[in-house]
Point group: C2
Chain length 177, copies 2
């Protein structure tokens, strides 16, 4: 069966400081029409920074939409026209102060397919060197280290719930096998 939904008509219906929302009318596989409302996102990168074999750098950051401090890998939104690797390198440096000599693109994840086109590219960074954080204004990040086993235990006991970070731990475990 062809599951594709086809664009018929649409428009941007909300243009915020951060969020842009579109509403499209689509043709469904059975010929009926439906409305699809979703966020347009420029894309993002997340970095798995491996400081020493099996030891990773994590961040604690308050995430206002949920109202909680989250344990995360470094991540951030792509600037307009920015290459994926450049975005990953910039976010790692800004948020953690580290630069990495070795970068590997592992894959990508879509974190919100119900109502956003966001795609997050996943990078593994090794051979790290500390050069000093340069956080954006209004950005507050605490750094700490965990092993892969410790991070997996933190998922099991509910301390890590961020989906992109759990996705990265999935990848880190695949690399460790």
């Amino acid at each position: 069966m062809d599951l594709t939904e086809t664009f018929l008509d649409g428009e941007q219906i909300f243009d915020g400081h951060l969020l842009q929302v579109r509403r499209d009318t689509v043709r469904l596989p059975d010929g009926a029409t439906a409305t699809r409302e979703y966020v347009r996102h420029p894309g993002a990168c997340v970095v798995i920074p491996e400081l020493r074999p099996g030891v990773f750098i994590f961040e604690r950051q308050f995430r206002y939409p949920v109202g909680e401090v989250f344990i995360e890998f470094p991540a951030g939104k792509r600037d307009a026209g920015e290459a994926l690797l450049v975005c990953a390198q910039r976010e790692l440096k800004e948020e953690t102060g580290y630069v990495a000599a070795q970068w590997t693109h592992l894959g990508r994840t879509h974190n919100c397919i119900g109502y956003s086109d966001e795609c997050i590219e996943i990078f593994h960074a090794t051979q790290l060197q500390q050069l000093g954080q340069s956080l954006d204004a209004g950005e507050f990040v605490e750094l700490f280290e965990m092993t892969l086993d410790e991070a997996e235990a933190a998922v099991r006991d509910g301390r890590i719930t961020d989906a992109k970070t759990i996705t990265c731990l999935f990848w880190a475990r695949q690399l460790a096998r």
Copy 2:
């Protein structure tokens, strides 16, 4: 350091058919103020349906915001006032036709902490019995089975990129250990 950002003022700035967007002014840890724009979401459930030991039911579904067919575990949004387990049972039955005699709540994941308060509760369903799909109007879902090894391979080669599904595969691997 206290990383908390505190609500000062705010309002709903967009009220769509599906999406509600708020814009709040917050006090940052250093006393400065900032604007936070985000989607309000009622919450969701995702189900890991284990048909036989080590064999899981997956869906193929077209996701219009991204414009691709995704491989996913069954999931869906909570109805107003609906209990989490009831939501999980309803979504599994509607999308796959299965009911399960055994349900375990494993944990939760936040899939979009940058701009949504969405929280997805993760359930493991076993002792399944097929009673027939009852999809919502405009919903088109294909079902198929994979082992955990096959699903992990599908993440590695890029066929599975959905973050909630990869998060569930993380949990399924923890259960299998």
